[in-house]
Symmetry: C2
Subunit: 119 residues, 2 copies
Amino acid sequence: MQESFERELLRGSLDLMVLSIIAEGPQYGYSIQKRVAHVSREQVSLAAGTLYPLLHRLEGDGLIKSRWDEETGRRRKWYEITAAGKRSLKQKAQHWQQYAECVWSLIGPFAANPKPLTG
Amino acid sequence: MQESFERELLRGSLDLMVLSIIAEGPQYGYSIQKRVAHVSREQVSLAAGTLYPLLHRLEGDGLIKSRWDEETGRRRKWYEITAAGKRSLKQKAQHWQQYAECVWSLIGPFAANPKPLTG
DNA sequence: TGCTATGCATAGAAAGGCGATACATCCACG
DNA sequence: CGTGGATGTATCGCCTTTCTATGCATAGCA
């Protein structure tokens, strides 16, 4: 699991999803939760206990940077993507796509409903 | 992460890949390793320390069943999918597809190479 | 006054994946 | 005949990710 694909691809795609959401424009934790819920049509609810450590991890890796909201006095912590984060996102997104195609080549036949050719 | 999608979808898709490989026809551990390497064009190498516990887990869940090769006297342990495994595979494959579409809707714009319209 | 939504955070447990290690057989090459 | 590499299954302990539970604070509404 160590050659071309990062091992994270085998784990979840959460890092990637969160990073791409921040890449769309500045976000804070709670807005990311809502965005994930929205794009998944309320199928995925990203727990706070998952999200915040994840954000700290991404920031520690230099992929995003944060800034406390000055306006309301430390209510929201805004995140934006860094240049390194953009590079990482593009690369990881391409890898994810390749990986997904590989998975799909295996499971596709079983996911599809039987074709109504004979039915 | 607990409503319609199983949480495993956030983790790897390994269970699903292995289950679908076994669904293609009887397999033993080593042949599954080779098959994964092949379909991923040698991009993914499934470590033995990952595969065998995974197979034991699937068997414990009743999704596959095993039988030692009688011919050569306990050299290979053959696995085949059970009826419950087939049902599980179909459902999980459909869920994975939905989840992948959700991920793709987020990361697709960042994975794509810039269109050579102006280049 | 309470209940709900917003908003961030950590601690501890559970689980998956990986590297290392172990052991046995088979075959090709020298 | 010996040695190394491929085949073949298995476990252990570590590391990382994810989840549950908990904590705290503010805002708005009934």
